[in-house]
Structure formats: structure tokens, C-alpha cells
């Protein structure tokens, strides 16, 4: 029996940037690329997110068909959504960042392109209070939904005190 060795492909980050810009420039999308610890990051505008992600997924030359993770960060002045994509075909990774307004954070849902985004977006909605536009089923995932605070925001404080037990308003 022949034993196949898996070899890691040397990924050229500049090549990814070239191929992505080949598709984004004609459609007029502004992408700000930067590299941090050998990882490629890409900052885009909130309005362009859905178009940009569709290019990443649908173009056969890129084929970022796997959504690794969605997470969010609170920088107090602004919020940020981070999307991590992977391409099995090219063994490429790309991290997409979107800046959101702190007072009224809202972003388009990418559920129609990646079905895996369903639970991630629900979690971000309840933990950070981000309004996901176009999500078909935006009910609470981990919390009961009537807390009145967003636990992963910097403004939330943990208090060492006894609390009364209040049953959740909605029990499914």
C-alpha cells in the first residue's frame, strides 16, 4: 500500500491579494488589505459586505467555500465584525473585517451565501446587540432574550452580589 504524504503548500499572500483585487476593482469595492502575523486581513465597508462575500464564494478561481468562524470585537468607539473564510481548493485563508457604528450597529446577513452563518450571527446578535439585517430566524441562541444587557460589550460589568431568580418571559 502506498502511503500518501500530505504536503503543506507554501501560500503566497500577495497572490491572494492579486486575485481578490482582480474581481473587486471592476465592481468598485474598496478593500484595505494588511498582513498581521502572516495572516491576511481585509477591511471593507459595511455596505459592500454582501457583494464582497459573494465574490469570495462564487468565483471559481477563489472558491472560499468554507466559513471558519464569525466573531465580533468591541473597541468602545466602534464595533467590528470579523469573518474568517477558508478555501480548500487553494488552501487560502482570508479574514474580513467590517467596522460598525457603536450606537446603532447593523450589518447585512450572509446567511443566504453561507448557511453556517446562521448560529454565529444569532450569537453575535444577542451577545453584542448587533442588528443582523435579513436573517430569517433571529431568536436568542444561548440566553433567554429578556436580560436587557449585552454580556460581551465592554460596558457590561460583572457584579459579585446575590441576584433574585426571575423566570424567563418566554419558555419554549
Amino acid at each position: 500500500m502506498e502511503i500518501l504524504e500530505f504536503k503543506y503548500k507554501k501560500v503566497d499572500v500577495q497572490e491572494i491579494i492579486e486575485v481578490v483585487e482582480k474581481y473587486t476593482k471592476p465592481s468598485g469595492l474598496l478593500c484595505n488589505f494588511f498582513i498581521f502575523k502572516d495572516q491576511l486581513f481585509c477591511e471593507i465597508k459595511r455596505e459592500d459586505l454582501k457583494k464582497f462575500v459573494e465574490i469570495l464564494n462564487k468565483k471559481p478561481e477563489l472558491s472560499f467555500e468554507y466559513l471558519k468562524c464569525i466573531t465580533a470585537v468591541d473597541y468602545i468607539d466602534y464595533l467590528e465584525m470579523v469573518y474568517l473564510f477558508y478555501s480548500f481548493k487553494n488552501q487560502w485563508s482570508i479574514n474580513v473585517k467590517v467596522k460598525l457604528d457603536a450606537l446603532n450597529p447593523q450589518v447585512d446577513s450572509i446567511y443566504e451565501i453561507y448557511r453556517a452563518a446562521d448560529w454565529y450571527e444569532r450569537e453575535m446578535a444577542e451577545m453584542f446587540g448587533i442588528n443582523i439585517i435579513g436573517h430569517p430566524n433571529l431568536k436568542p441562541l444561548l440566553l433567554s432574550g429578556d436580560e436587557g444587557f449585552y454580556p460581551l460589550r465592554k460596558s457590561f460589568e460583572i457584579k459579585w452580589e446575590e441576584r433574585e431568580y426571575l423566570p424567563p418571559k418566554k419558555f419554549e
Binding site: L142, E147, F149, P151, I158, E161, E162, R163, P167, F171
Partner: protein, 160 residues
């Protein structure tokens, strides 16, 4: 067969204290619910399995809350999960007993200041015996269950 031998060849009567008879029966056949919440459930399963063996005390697992006498809360109760625990408790038939196992079920434990954890299962349902530890050893759980036997043996039909 001891002192009853040969005394029931024809119909006969035994007189016995009602409380003692019922309490002896109840404390020797505590059926429990197969209900594990968090990591204490691993210790609970170890206590129930063949090495320590619940069944030598007459404790037998049932999968439906309508058939059990005792429920062991073995882990953290979150705010979203508390209504489920309450509904399970309400489905159990009287008399029913609750054992709170581990720090989380007693007071919230290491998650006392968390936003989603209920600070002790006794805020939701009444508890008979608390077993401390994080998690308690099977021996500690046995100690708690023997305490529960004492609780049952103190019951009477005169005053509940």
C-alpha cells in the same frame, strides 16, 4: 424466616406502626431519574455504575419523571434551563425528594457572578439534601443519600 415462620398458614393479622412501615419502604426503594446536567453527572454516573453500585441500596434508574421518587441535580442550572428543571420537578409524583449535588447546584459555585447562572437550584425548586464538593466524590454522594434516608425516616402522616 425468623419470627414470622409458620404464623401465616391460615389468615392472620400483623399490627405495625404505619410511619415505620411506609418510611422503611420509601427509604429502601428510592428510584431516581437519569438526569445529568454538567460535569457532576460524571461522578454521579460513577456512583451509579457497578464499582459503587446504587442498586444495592434499592435505587434504580427510571427514564420518566413520572415514575421516580428522587431527582439528583448534578450541575450548573442556567437561567434558560431553570424552567425545564421546574417542569420536571412538577411532573414527579408525591412524595418527591431533591438532592443538590456540587457547588453549582448549591449556590452557583464558580459561576456565582455570571450573568446567565441561577445562584443555586433552591431558588427554583425545594431541596432536601445538599452535597458539597466540586465535584463531590461518589462517597460524598452516598453520604448525602444516607442523609436523605434520615430525612425520609423522620416523616409522619400526622404532621407533614
Amino acid at each position: 424466616m425468623g419470627f414470622l415462620e409458620g404464623k401465616f398458614k391460615k389468615p392472620n393479622i400483623i399490627t405495625v406502626c404505619y410511619d415505620k412501615l411506609m418510611n422503611a419502604a420509601r427509604s429502601r426503594s428510592l428510584w431516581y431519574l437519569t438526569f445529568g446536567v454538567a460535569c457532576c453527572a460524571i461522578e454521579f454516573m460513577a456512583a451509579a455504575a457497578s464499582h459503587y453500585d446504587f442498586e444495592r441500596y434499592g435505587m434504580f434508574f427510571r427514564a420518566s419523571p413520572r415514575q421516580v421518587d428522587m431527582i439528583i441535580i448534578s450541575g450548573t442550572i442556567t437561567r434558560k434551563y431553570a424552567p425545564v428543571v421546574k417542569r420536571i420537578y412538577e411532573q414527579m409524583a408525591e412524595p418527591k425528594y431533591v438532592v443538590a449535588m456540587g457547588s453549582c447546584a448549591i449556590s452557583g459555585g464558580p459561576f456565582y457572578d455570571s450573568y446567565s447562572v441561577v445562584q443555586g437550584v433552591d431558588k427554583v425548586i425545594p431541596v432536601d439534601v445538599y452535597v458539597q464538593g466540586c465535584p463531590p466524590r461518589p462517597e460524598a454522594l452516598y453520604m448525602g443519600l444516607l442523609k436523605l434516608k434520615d430525612v425520609i425516616n423522620r416523616e409522619t402522616i400526622v404532621v407533614k
